[in-house]
Amino acid sequence: MAATQKDPVLVVVQLSGGNDYLNTVIPYNNPLYRDNRPAVGIPDAQVLPIDKNYAFHPAMAPLKKVWDEGKLAILHGTGYTNSPRSHFRSMDIWHTCEPDKVGTEGWLGRVAREYDPNKENVITVVSFGPSLFRALAVPGVPVACVAGPLEKYGFLPTVQERELRLKVLDRFARMYAPVVGSGVMEYLGTTGLDSLKGADVLKVAPQRYASTVKYPDTPIARKLQGIAQVHLAGLGSRIFYCDHGSFDTHAGQNPGHGTLWSAVAEGLDAFMMDLRQHDHADNVLVLLFSEFGRRVHDNGSGTDHGAAGPAFVLGDKVKGGHYGDYPSLKAEHLVQGDLNPSMDFRSIYSTILEKWLKVSSKPIVGRAFEQLAFLN
């Protein structure tokens, strides 16, 4: 619990379902964009140009602001070779850094093990969602999974009466008192008490939290607000994870894709404002990624599974700008109709690990990758 307040913190926002590259960072002056997007192209009049070649989706206005402030890095052409175009497999690859075989350990779980090998802080990693993201899963590494509102987090939320609840949780603690030397019962006891402790610690976050920032009423904004609450409470959490979706826009991409991006962009806008108002923004880095991009040519109403996509990193310490190259849209350069990845996603991880989280990247991502310049 003694972590200094300015330890670097990573917030991952996973765009689940496969975010469409071409309509996120729009090559609006490239005629091939228009040719390939007869049905779901964003009209010139609506795009938000960030320079003479590229524009953001109109729903990303709050992120355009971050770009203008020079605090948003666009990581172009992210992916890996032989993109499988399957949600699960692709997501697993991002989570475990294992493009060639089935991996079981998550990259951020490994970071947590580095940070807290003795599990002194059971909330080093806090995940917002009902299930444990594989990126966080390493056997023996505790992760707090907050499925609903933070206020309700804990054992037996259905026992609501305050007094009874306190009593019941007290009994729970006594019933889980580890019996030394009893094997599995002892293990259950320790785990139960760890979990109870995590809930106790997290419980104070919403109590300590006060803010004038209004978050939008979207699932992602609620998750980001939960992250802000825990971060601002100074409980020593270092890694936060949440997701939003589904970006799987096979049909009705317009306006669906815009709705998704407004939620993410507006949520992040509120989140960063909240942190800044509390002077707690400078040690936070946000990573946005999706498991793959989408097909170059639309299908008349949406786009199907593709390969390369964009990732984004934003934060007060980020050097904004383009990193890497936007893959070519020319037919002869496409792979099965998809943008060919030009940046290995593990380069991004390595950079974040080395330059931000200050841990050695090789044991986590497998080998050395090119370091990118979006962080000093």
């Binding site: 949600h87 699960f88 056997p139 259905t158 599995v184 760890d194």
Partner: protein, 468 residues
């Protein structure tokens, strides 16, 4: 109290050979007899199948669910909750764990459901035939890359896992055997299927391509010949190591938690005689799983192994839903319900790797423990659910309950569950704070309902309740 012993034993059988049973079902089964119940369980064809048509009327997307959850999970969960053939489902879950195949790569829940169907149909029969069907199962062929296993370029993934994880275990074969087995399965692949766009998924079909099969001589586990895949399986099942491997798996799944597969080459079973008994049956019956299960469930080592098994998330979720009732018909929200095991660490139809799930105490971490306790507590605390109502009604029939009677009554009707003295004392202390409860007046009846719900929640939160 002999009758109470019979109930407890039957509850044990139904937890292990199925997903638990409510008290009225236990009573009916006790009346029928233990051995007769075992016979019914190992002959699922005597009971009606699940009404899939009703599932498809209300959740048509559960038929060809594609690569994204949860509709495949809905299909599976509907079967688990509704089956009148509990052992058929339990055995299918067993093979799903042993022959672990995951959506993470297959990206196709339709195919995974078909594989589960294979386990339902063949899981209690001849293990040799099951292996042959497994080797022809397109889901498995794709999962372990046998479609990339060519006469001219051998891919050893399937050949290796067949020996290491599906039949013999490490140490019972050489690298050369892996190579030769893999050669024998060249040409075992599937037809190119009609792709998913634009009308949805079509199934894979097994295809044997003779021109891609390496028909040369092989030397495998001391045998020599121009073996094809089925010959390899015939040799495998004859190995003493195979009987032992399958029986240790059955013991670990149905009888008591043991260290998992990777430890088997160094650690002996905790009850070697039990394994010997099962192994002998396996061989004498020519690999008939049904015969082995009959011996297993009727053995004293099984009957004495109460609460020696940490419930898997599937057992937690399905067992609870069947206990409380009310989840038989499809309904909106079945998707989230069917994902509950994944929130507790067991993503059905998507095991983490071909090694299956890590079981026993590895089911438990701080997150999964909270998820399982809260899920069960929320159900047993809801008196509007028919199974909870049934528990309340049985307690109510006893009249006014002292704190001890409340605790013991709830423990009894949730299992019977056996708890340690310390745990029981905490439960009784809590009940004492409430004093006697009774249903004799409307106001007190409401309170009594609530107290029972709270006591049930406290019980399912105990360490002891995590075991079956």
């Amino acid at each position: 109290m002999a009758y109470q012993d019979d109930i407890a034993l039957m509850a044990h059988l139904m937890r292990r050979a199925g997903f638990g049973a409510r008290r009225d079902e236990l009573e009916a089964r006790v009346a029928k007899g233990y051995e007769a119940t075992v016979e019914e369980l190992i002959h699922p064809e005597t009971q009606p199948p699940v009404d899939v048509y009703t599932l498809l009327r209300y959740h048509p997307a559960a038929l060809l669910p594609g690569g994204q959850p949860p509709m495949g999970n809905v299909n599976y969960m509907y079967h688990l909750v509704n089956t009148k053939r509990p052992l058929e489902e339990k055995v299918a879950l067993f093979w799903h764990h042993v022959f672990a195949t995951g959506n993470s790569k297959v990206d196709n829940y339709d195919q995974l459901l078909l594989q589960i169907n294979l386990f339902r149909e063949r899981g209690m029969g001849d293990y040799r035939a099951l292996l042959v069907e497994l080797a022809r199962n397109p889901t498995m062929l794709f999962w372990l890359d046998n479609n990339e296993n060519h006469g001219t370029a051998v891919n050893e993934n399937w050949g290796r896992e067949l020996l290491e994880l599906f039949s013999l275990g490490v140490g019972s074969y050489t690298e050369k055997d892996v190579r030769e087995a893999s050669r024998a399965f060249t040409g075992w692949t599937f037809e190119t299927k009609i792709p998913r766009l634009p009308y949805g998924r079509f199934p894979w079909k097994f295809e044997y391509r003779a021109e891609d099969h390496d028909d040369g001589e092989k030397e495998f586990l001391g045998h020599r010949g121009r073996f094809n895949g089925e010959d390899i399986i015939n040799i495998v099942v004859e190995q003493p190591a195979c009987a032992r491997f399958v029986c240790r798996h059955l013991y670990n799944f149905f009888v008591a938690d043991e260290p998992q597969v990777p430890a088997w080459s160094i650690e002996s079973p905790s009850d070697p005689k039990a394994i010997d008994t099962l192994t002998a049956t396996f061989r004498e019956s020519h690999y008939d799983i049904r015969s082995v299960l009959r011996v297993l469930f009727n053995s004293s080592f099984f009957k004495n192994a109460r609460f020696q098994h940490m419930k898997s998330p599937a057992e937690v979720v399905v067992g609870s839903l069947r206990l409380v009732g009310g989840y038989e018909m499809p309904r909106p929200g079945y998707g989230d319900l069917s994902m509950q095991p994944s929130y507790m660490g067991q993503d059905l139809l998507n095991p983490p790797s071909v090694e299956g799930w890590h079981t026993g105490q590895e089911w438990i971490n701080s997150g999964s423990l909270m998820a399982r306790i809260n899920f069960v507590a929320q159900l047993v605390g809801d008196p509007s659910l028919p199974g909870v109502r049934a528990i309340i009604d049985r307690l109510k029939a006893k009249g006014t309950l002292s704190p001890e009677q409340l605790v013991d009554g709830c423990l009894d009707l949730l299992g019977p569950v056996e708890v340690g003295a310390d745990t029981r004392r905490e439960l009784v202390d809590q009940a004492k704070e409430w004093g006697q409860i009774s249903w004799d007046r409307e106001v007190s009846a409401q309170t009594a309902d609530k107290r029972v719900g709270e006591m049930l929640q406290l019980i399912v939160a105990t360490r002891e309740y995590q075991f079956a």
